[in-house]
Subunit: 369 residues, 4 copies
Amino acid sequence: MKNTFGQNVSLTLFGESHGAAVGAVLDGIAPGIAVDEERIARELSRRRPSSAMDTPRREKDAFQIVSGVFNGKTTGTPICIVIPNENTKSSDYSYGVARPSHADYSAFCKYHGFEDYRGGGHFSGRITAALVAVGGILLPALENCGITVGTHILRCKNVSDRPFEDASIDILQLKTADFPTLDNEIGEQIKDLILQAGQSQNSVGGVTQTAVCGLPAGLGEPWFDSVEGLLSHALFSLGGVKGVSFGEGFGFADLTGVEANDAFRSVDGRVVTKTNRNGGINGGITNGMPVLFDCAVKPTPTISRPQETVDFIKDTNAEITAHGRHDPAIIRRICPVIDSVTALVLCDFLAGRYGTDFLAKGTNVCVTD
Amino acid sequence: MKNTFGQNVSLTLFGESHGAAVGAVLDGIAPGIAVDEERIARELSRRRPSSAMDTPRREKDAFQIVSGVFNGKTTGTPICIVIPNENTKSSDYSYGVARPSHADYSAFCKYHGFEDYRGGGHFSGRITAALVAVGGILLPALENCGITVGTHILRCKNVSDRPFEDASIDILQLKTADFPTLDNEIGEQIKDLILQAGQSQNSVGGVTQTAVCGLPAGLGEPWFDSVEGLLSHALFSLGGVKGVSFGEGFGFADLTGVEANDAFRSVDGRVVTKTNRNGGINGGITNGMPVLFDCAVKPTPTISRPQETVDFIKDTNAEITAHGRHDPAIIRRICPVIDSVTALVLCDFLAGRYGTDFLAKGTNVCVTD
Amino acid sequence: MKNTFGQNVSLTLFGESHGAAVGAVLDGIAPGIAVDEERIARELSRRRPSSAMDTPRREKDAFQIVSGVFNGKTTGTPICIVIPNENTKSSDYSYGVARPSHADYSAFCKYHGFEDYRGGGHFSGRITAALVAVGGILLPALENCGITVGTHILRCKNVSDRPFEDASIDILQLKTADFPTLDNEIGEQIKDLILQAGQSQNSVGGVTQTAVCGLPAGLGEPWFDSVEGLLSHALFSLGGVKGVSFGEGFGFADLTGVEANDAFRSVDGRVVTKTNRNGGINGGITNGMPVLFDCAVKPTPTISRPQETVDFIKDTNAEITAHGRHDPAIIRRICPVIDSVTALVLCDFLAGRYGTDFLAKGTNVCVTD
Amino acid sequence: MKNTFGQNVSLTLFGESHGAAVGAVLDGIAPGIAVDEERIARELSRRRPSSAMDTPRREKDAFQIVSGVFNGKTTGTPICIVIPNENTKSSDYSYGVARPSHADYSAFCKYHGFEDYRGGGHFSGRITAALVAVGGILLPALENCGITVGTHILRCKNVSDRPFEDASIDILQLKTADFPTLDNEIGEQIKDLILQAGQSQNSVGGVTQTAVCGLPAGLGEPWFDSVEGLLSHALFSLGGVKGVSFGEGFGFADLTGVEANDAFRSVDGRVVTKTNRNGGINGGITNGMPVLFDCAVKPTPTISRPQETVDFIKDTNAEITAHGRHDPAIIRRICPVIDSVTALVLCDFLAGRYGTDFLAKGTNVCVTD
């Protein structure tokens, strides 16, 4: 299967940037979970372009829950959410001249010219609105079970936010933050970097860091469906994500075993680790510590400067200068998308381990298990 | 499904480190592919511990092809390969005292004490012998279609190998190299680092880099089953892999769009990119350039020094000093495993796109498509 | 995954009888297939209630293609089709008193009372409208490859239609038939049976027979994903289908091997069988003869007579007399649904064997392979 | 995936009739389930040819549990069972002359002549030994949860056994029966029919009936993964099964709604149905009554009489007279195979609904839920 992800809880995405709508079908979700449309709207607002830092395309993201919710609660049958496209300007796009580092050319090779190329079509970041709407259902359901998820910008060029420290408190802070950094001052500096990039017809990337708190130990599989494997699989769907690492990640290459190992300790009858360099995962399976991972996000490829490229229809070299509306950085807007994708993977693991109805029980899993 | 990976070409792993055998079932493979037992043995020898750099456990890896091969060719039905365990010393292992950064504790939480803990059980790197045996079938089949795969140690602590340059030639060189670096001098330095780590009861990690040449443009899916998504999913199964990145990976955070974008050019009627910072993948889909990715490998957690830990049976703090046989670094031995896992994912993509029989045709896909 | 079916070509269903809409997401379909909205409408009209034989609920089935079609052709990305519900009368339904042989009680046990019970909710035959709309895309695509599908009523109580003889011609005849029997006179008798059942507040079931012509030999898998296995899996989704058999089916119990075997013959360089008691499938794999199967359809459980039942909310015995709008038989309306489900399974097999792009090529597979 | 079935509990089959071994990998099974090798042996003995009614090929079925069992209990990791082939006589088989109603020709079309044709290769009933060995683990685990499964011969030509009445008692009786009928006298008559068929170089088929008792209400999915859908998918893998029906099955065509509906009643606070014509399933979901289904089994296609056929290598008409060892009927030997396949599907449903560990808990689900 292609645009579907997950085994016990699964998500199917559809839609194109300039088509009628984007949307998602979420299946396998426990019956009886409260669906709060305001929370969905709030998650969508975190992703929505809203300032000079973002694309001038403005969408209301007026989502419609087509199925699977009855009397304000999940029914247990598929939830289809549709978000109509409204503010589309297809005339900005012509076909054949590939935007460098975009999917135009690779999509042509795959779809032979039948792809809806307008605004990036099915490859557009616009589709992540549907992902985030789904997150607006899953994230509060997880919170109800004592599981929280948060993502901040860890780095943008040479400006670095502090990493998660007391992750559960940091996550709470992020829920109400205007800009997703843990340090406000750093946030201002990153905003400046992004604005400058936009003003100079350029763009910037960065690194995000995500924490998950409250997960029980024992989730994940040793081979293939490790927690790292499923999370990375889902995260690499997101346009611009070019690296995923857990705990120390690539920093492990600088350490010896003596420095890298996380010593276990028994504290108040609970097993913890003194450090958390493994990001809460040993052998692919959660160990009860916060799950920590980073995503590398490349600079938005659309820049308003002339670039060398090809016209793959005429089979010639060409030059392109982007005129479409676009973001000088997606590093801010990708944070709620990462939260949502993470929630999907976690719900899948939890439903697999504890059964279909688990997520509706509102139990704190760490206590339960 | 848990220990099974792949949709059109799929692999199921089984076995424990100190059980009767480890093995794999490979399904969906085209009928008529030549199976060369010498090649399988050669791939296994690349993974096998063989020097003071590796664990003193020595296994013959005498594999048996139980099914799916007839008259030296694949039949198209499942290929089961079994590799008996011979040199096991279970007395080295006792139960309850968790080895830090190993799966002992997380496995206990998942399997409630019923897991076969001896030598890491199903979590052991020993299981990768079965993966490599499968690679011994898939890699030559890909080569027959003009697709080559190679992995080298890019970095170990402060010692760095040169990255892939002319990847198809570099891959050829790696096929016959005694030690998987592109620069022999660097190889010697890394060997020294590993030996020193072993002598000081310590261990080291590193970063590997992999290249795939000859892939057609147009493989992969925009959402979820991107090339990055499926490769990372499979790679994160490997014990010790804690990061996966494509092209510039985490280095993208330092670049602007102007610096990061890969300009397209038409050269001799073929579309190429001037740089390959995206690692041959745009929007999750191959663009015809070499696919390039890095894996971060953490230091082997088993070290012969006293470490703080817990006894999760007695529920007390404890100390552990490893006595089992182990490697001061797996960075060398993981290279052929990464090649094999990569081959599995590629075969799955190719079978999905071009059909069941494709891999047996020995066509150069780039020409065909 | 639950409401999703198929591996290479997959379908996800959503919607409830009295919710906003029903719909489907079709994924994995080759790019470049012409989508003819008139054909979709024609297939929908075959399923639509239209006479005294059917439920008085009248729906326009005004479908909207939300995604995946561009310039009249499939793009290769997910096709979402939404069919709004208009003519709903939820006041006909109350909750707790289980309709016998319906899903009310089993759904309550599964969904704990959170299910949308109105009009059968997600269990309603209304959802098959989305299946049939998808068939309106897949069936002409198959026809373009020389593959045709047709279903007729083989039996209703003691009245039997003739079985398929020259199946490809019979299928053509069914395409334009007002009522799905091969013998018009029998059709009139079956209509009478259904009308009488309706007039006496009763209902009838029956047996359908389906033929598929033009399939290449060699489709299917020996274990699990046999042609019989995948077809039956999908067919048993349909409310009311309680039996599926291939070729002679349950009639095989009366035959000896001498009578049951289909002798092979070479005719004009093509291998055929003299009889087709195995329904075109040997060992789970097509042999090039027409695929033939029957579905047993139970009488519509909704009848306007008092029936003994329970009130599962009050936990007491109760009596029920149906007032909702319903069909005295679904045996007519199920025929296009079976065609559509069959088309889905065939497209999945073909895409798996011949690759993603196959279905758009319009090749006659029997000649190609 | 092809030779793998199941989502939460999954099975992968491998092996050929005359290869080194047949076997299975069972994954997703809860840790801590007792594995009784004697029970496995007993299930295998029910399938093993043993009399003049069966093929003269005699196999010891000396199974080896290669992985996934430790100290007599399941570990939660994949269980690989290998059953070596010993008594093979490949000289009985030559290649190119298709045995009518066997898979020889369709396999040739699929595998292009690379298939291991000896003794039917991967299509051989011999592979079901691995299925039955797996059943030897799953069936007692289900029994421990209060769920029992049994299959008897319902009909062979004109001789019919009585259908299940008090199914849980009937199942108990079948566990110790020498021949799988509920009526011993009928059993003798069916034995005679089979022996006569064998003596006259002919073969017979039949119909089996299976009952499952103790299942909780609420298992199954409305679309696609209905209980009927998954069971039939797995059952149609078995060579010779050409029809699967639930409850009244094809008999529903003769009934009206008034006759066919199962009235609900509340008895001692438990909801039951007065009749069970729907075979314990409403809307694809269990309703708490025994699940009842029939399988149509065609006569063994191998008969020792001359038959018309083709030589698909020489592309000519030919005649064949079987010399290989074979059964005049598989209707007896298929009963334990059906039990095992059923157990697999049930375990998958239960693990999906109640979580990974459920099956090890030994809870009576009906009470629990």
